[in-house]
């Protein structure tokens, strides 16, 4: 089976990842993808760059379990998650979630489900640099609410 989860410092290429996900599967009729990037503002401050920390081992296992859950819930053909760690500058890509399915509805839903799940359950932590100094990013209650829509209580924030 192709690798489903990559945690890496290197950047990723959306086209390459989608091509690999679709390869040799003529049953694919839809691809939905999400790319998260580093924004220049957060919580009222300018942000110049950030550092992403993770829990090696647990992070990969958690996301693998999320993909298993997505495959249970949705009629999808394949899913891929790439998440970067280490130092990242404004504008850089942070995360990719890509899902293939026969029809668009299931791919859209599974992609959003995976992102909502990842935001509150995958062990990553962002530390951003602002003019006032470096600070750890606070978790958002809104992200817990987003996961609750899928019937999962997050209680992360």
């Amino acid at each position: 089976m192709a690798q489903r989860v990559s945690i890496q410092t290197a950047d990723f290429d959306l086209s390459t990842e989608v091509a690999a996900l679709r390869a040799a599967d003529p049953g694919v009729g839809a691809v939905a993808s999400f790319v998260g990037t580093v924004r220049d503002r957060n919580d009222g401050s300018a942000v110049s760059d950030m550092e992403l920390e993770h829990y090696p081992g647990m992070t990969e296992r958690a996301i693998e379990a999320m993909i298993d859950e997505a495959r249970q819930r949705f009629d999808i053909r394949a899913a891929r998650v790439v998440h970067r760690v280490g130092p990242l500058r404004v504008g850089e890509q942070i995360v990719l979630v890509a899902v293939t399915s026969a029809h668009r509805g299931q791919a859209f839903q599974a992609c959003e489900f995976l992102m909502d799940y990842l935001k509150t359950q995958a062990p990553f932590w962002k530390k951003e640099t602002t003019p006032e100094g470096a600070r750890w990013v606070d978790a958002r209650v809104a992200d817990d609410a987003a996961l609750a829509r899928w019937g999962i209580q997050a209680s992360n924030a």
Binding site: G57, L118, P123, W125, A157
Partner: protein
């Protein structure tokens, strides 16, 4: 029994990346937190109940009721902020 304790993000900065802690057999994750809190100092500060601290047992999200075994890997960390 001995358990390996790991810290991440702000907790790692305050307490270091990892330590080994000796506990009575049958201890729970809550017992471990009590032992760490009883040390006072930075442990008492950053692991205080009421602060947003999440925990994992053997690399899966867990809570203080979980029973630990010898050689377990426990982690304490702030709410996650990936994505």
């Amino acid at each position: 029994m001995k358990v390996q304790v790991r810290y991440f993000a702000a907790l790692r900065e305050a307490l270091g990346a990892a330590e080994t802690v000796e506990l009575p057999a049958g201890s729970t994750l809550g017992t471990l937190r009590d032992v760490l809190l009883a040390r006072g100092g930075r442990h008492a500060e950053v692991l205080a109940r009421g602060r947003a601290v999440r925990c994992a047992l053997d690399q899966a999200m867990s809570d203080e009721t979980a029973v630990l075994r010898d050689g377990a890997e426990v982690a304490f960390f702030p709410p996650v902020t990936g994505g």
